[in-house]
Symmetry: C2
Subunit: 265 residues, 2 copies
């Protein structure tokens, strides 16, 4: 028994990498670079962009896995499903065990505030957390395909190392990390934050197709309703990397207490 424990300790941690922008996105290459040397890296990522897929899973059709040579010296697979599917399939059919940590991203674009709920990047991380796998989703506040990921790589590595050291803290640990799109030297550090109440004010763009029928493009303006200085939006605006610990228990405990007192059926 003692021997077995010792053997496990000597083994490199297994690091599962996924994202929602798809396996060929520059962001996931950056994340693999950030994690190099910290453990045995295995990539299972969507074969196409899956932004805004939230916690979607594929029910009505089967999934495919395809070996990928995208990352030098790293075992990698593309998957026909959503980011959440990737995590499920990776654990059950690729790793045949839980990885020691799951990292998702680096997303091209912000996942602070309410974005956490629409984000495939964060849903993949949250799925790992449901499976008792500590996880981190990383996002850089730059949508560009040519975004500079150097600061993201630096801070991702620091945070992955911290999580690997802190695995006993909480088996459902899940972090939403956002990195401001500024030169690395201007970043002031890392702040633990809460999720800001900031959201999109929708304004669909109504158009007519060549046959005269209407269609609608989702657009919207991002509005921050939250004046707190402890939020992710505040931290990012003030040149910090924001770290929000997130959870999958959606129970609103405070409201639960109120309803128990006030509502009689």
């Amino acid at each position: 028994m003692a021997k077995q424990v010792k053997k496990q300790k000597q083994e490199l941690p297994v690091i599962l990498v996924t994202n929602d922008d798809g396996i060929s996105a520059p962001g996931i290459r950056a994340l693999v670079e950030a994690a190099r040397g910290l453990g045995k890296i295995v990539v299972v990522a969507p074969d196409k962009p899956q932004s805004g897929m939230g916690h979607a899973i594929t029910i009505g059709q089967p999934l495919r896995l395809q070996k990928s040579t995208q990352f030098e010296g790293v075992e990698a697979y593309s998957c026909s499903g959503t980011p959440v599917d990737c995590v499920k399939l990776a654990v059950d059919k690729v790793l045949h065990r839980k990885p020691d940590v799951c990292i998702s991203g680096v997303n091209h674009g912000a996942n602070h505030s309410i974005n956490v709920i629409y984000s495939g990047t964060m849903s993949a991380a949250l799925e790992a957390s449901i499976e008792s796998i500590p996880s981190i989703g990383f996002s850089l506040l730059d949508f560009s395909i040519e975004a500079d990921f150097s600061a993201a790589i630096k801070y991702a590595r620091i945070i992955i190392e911290q999580v690997l050291k802190s695995r006993s803290l909480d088996k459902h640990l899940c972090l939403n990390v956002n990195i401001p799109a500024i030169p690395e030297k201007l970043i002031k550090g890392i702040r633990i934050c809460r999720q800001a109440y900031a959201k999109y004010e929708e304004d669909f763009d109504e158009r007519k197709d060549p046959h005269g029928k209407k269609y609608y493009w989702l657009t919207g303006e991002f509005v921050n309703f939250d004046k707190g200085k402890d939020t992710d939006v505040w931290a990012l605006k003030n040149n910090y990397v924001s770290v929000v610990p997130v959870q999958f228990d959606l129970t609103h405990y405070q409201l639960k207490q109120q309803l128990e007192t006030k509502w009689k059926f």
Copy 2:
């Protein structure tokens, strides 16, 4: 000003109805019946099944709206997008205002415990809550197309009336309501609960296509790890309708506090 307030008070509440099983599912017909007479009902629901879509939104393509005559005497539209898209589009392009309440379902199948996070039904309700629209997602623990919705209709109506009366309680009020699949007379009542930690243990069904290539079907066994008697799973097993108040702030405040103390970057 006083006159305007009075006029608003006399107006019927606007009730937005959506779901994730699609506009032609029996469950949404049941929900429209449950709400009849309680306000002006407007339906905007997906034009096809959208189960397991979670909080997905449609980014890469535009959306379509189509008038529907599915519900007698009720203004209704089918939408080409996800349940969350339906809510966004309904507010911006159909109602041109926030409805007084948004109801989603009745889902064919359970949305208790971790299902809340995969469920299109609940994501639609949560989206309304983000928009400061009180909302309720309803699910019946019966997948059958021929499910008996009579108990669901009865309890949905009771809870919709309660929410309409309680609109001042919390503008982000969002309830996850599950109804056991038993005859109405066996239901013991309604319980306010927390979300159980119960989830699926995945076991993908691996097959080979006619060309010898592997593919994978998502399957899994539902396991309840939560022994609490205050959970939705417990309530449903004990013949109660479960009501879990849910929230979109995913911050894990307890863990946040721990990280602030323990982590120094």
